[in-house]
Structure formats: structure tokens, C-alpha cells
Symmetry: C2
Subunit: 124 residues, 2 copies
């Protein structure tokens, strides 16, 4: 999987596009929060809303729909009164946790370095 240098803009720069597809999936404002919040099992709608600080009802709904559409999250409705809806990670969704944790580790290791770099850049 190496990048070509000088060539026609062939459709085979799909390597990057593939990554962008997944980054578009988890790179929005809330998807990652939802995925991580679901890592220990099913959670109800309003419980998700409480645990994810700052998310609006609308965005939680939209985010869950997107994850459900991509087969990363399941939606289970219990027709009780009042209605109860559980959300959970699918098997595929659960496998996403590993790469995400790699990023967590990187962010943890380099947080200070980035912060200092920003101060240095902004300062001089």
C-alpha cells in the first residue's frame, strides 16, 4: 500500500478515502462519545443523554441513527408505558473500540507535547 508519485489521478487513492470514510463516521462531534459510553453494555436513550455531557436530544438521535445505519449500534424498543429504548454496540461496533483505544493512548502520551507546541507557536 504505497502512494504513487507521478501518475494520472487514478481512482486508486482509495486507501486514504477508506480512512476518511471511517473518520467521517467517528470524527463527528458525538459518535465517539456514544461508542465509548456503550462499551459496557446497553444504555437507554435518556441515560446516554445524561452521561454524554452537553449533547442535545436532536444530536443524540441523529448520532444514534447514523451509527445504527452503519451497523455499529443496535436499537431495541420495549413497547412498555412509557416506551423504553436500549442502545448497544454490535459485534462490529465493539471491534472499533480497539483502534479507538490506540488513539486514546497516543493522545495520552502526547497531550502535553501538543499543548506546549501550541503555546510555543502562539507565543513566538
Amino acid at each position: 500500500m504505497s502512494l504513487r508519485n507521478t501518475d494520472v489521478p487514478s481512482p486508486r487513492d482509495g486507501d486514504c478515502r477508506m480512512v476518511r470514510e471511517i473518520l467521517d463516521r467517528i470524527g463527528d462531534k458525538w459518535s465517539l462519545y456514544v461508542i465509548v459510553t456503550l462499551k459496557n453494555g446497553p444504555v437507554r436513550f435518556n441515560e446516554l443523554r445524561r452521561q454524554i455531557d452537553g449533547i442535545s436530544q436532536r444530536m443524540l438521535t441523529l448520532t444514534l441513527r447514523g451509527l445504527e445505519r452503519d451497523g455499529l449500534v443496535t436499537r431495541t424498543m420495549f413497547p412498555s408505558v412509557p416506551v423504553r429504548v436500549d442502545y448497544d454496540l454490535t459485534e462490529v461496533g465493539r471491534t472499533l473500540l480497539a483502534p479507538v483505544m490506540a488513539l486514546v493512548a497516543w493522545a495520552d502520551d502526547n497531550r502535553d507535547a501538543i499543548q506546549e507546541a501550541r503555546l510555543r507557536y502562539d507565543g513566538g
Copy 2:
């Protein structure tokens, strides 16, 4: 407007914010392309522009400035005529390649599954 007063933000919240910081960094439209394109060594401005299909001059500049600010990319100007500017990954920037590749692997493994899930969801 909250019905109950929530006290201190939970400690786990910081974990997510940290990841969001890095996702905000590489999760924009072009940063990842730049990082991957620089993986084999320094590249000049217009060469980056050629290799990253679809990026505008403005966005390449803004993306490079952001990465430079965070200490992930270096900018080296040669005062020749015409001017020549090389961009390269820093040591820190280079360590980011590993977690990114983990995501690449995940995207590769699950691309079809996601595509099928979408068709299923949209179809019925």
C-alpha cells in the same frame, strides 16, 4: 435547562475530551491526507497539492498551519528563487502514524460490512 443539578463532571469525561482533542486534530477534512502523504519524507507545497486530490490552496495552507502549530509538522523555507518550502513530519507527528494505521486496518476489515449495513438500513 436541566431538571436536576449535576455536580462535578465525572472523571471519565476527561478521557473522552482528550480523544476528542486529537480527533478534532486529525478528524478535519484534510489533516489525515497530509500526514499520510508526508510519511515517506519531506514534500514541497505544490507537490502536496498535487498528491492530495481535491484540496484547495487555501485549505492546504490552513491544514499545514494547524499541524505545524501542534508540533506534528515542520516547515522549512529555502530562500531560493523561486522560493521553496518543504514540509515534513516531526518525531511526534511520526508516532501518530501507528494509531492511524490501526484505523486503516479496521476500515479495511469492516468496509464491506458497513456498506452492506447501509444498504440494508436504507432498503428496509
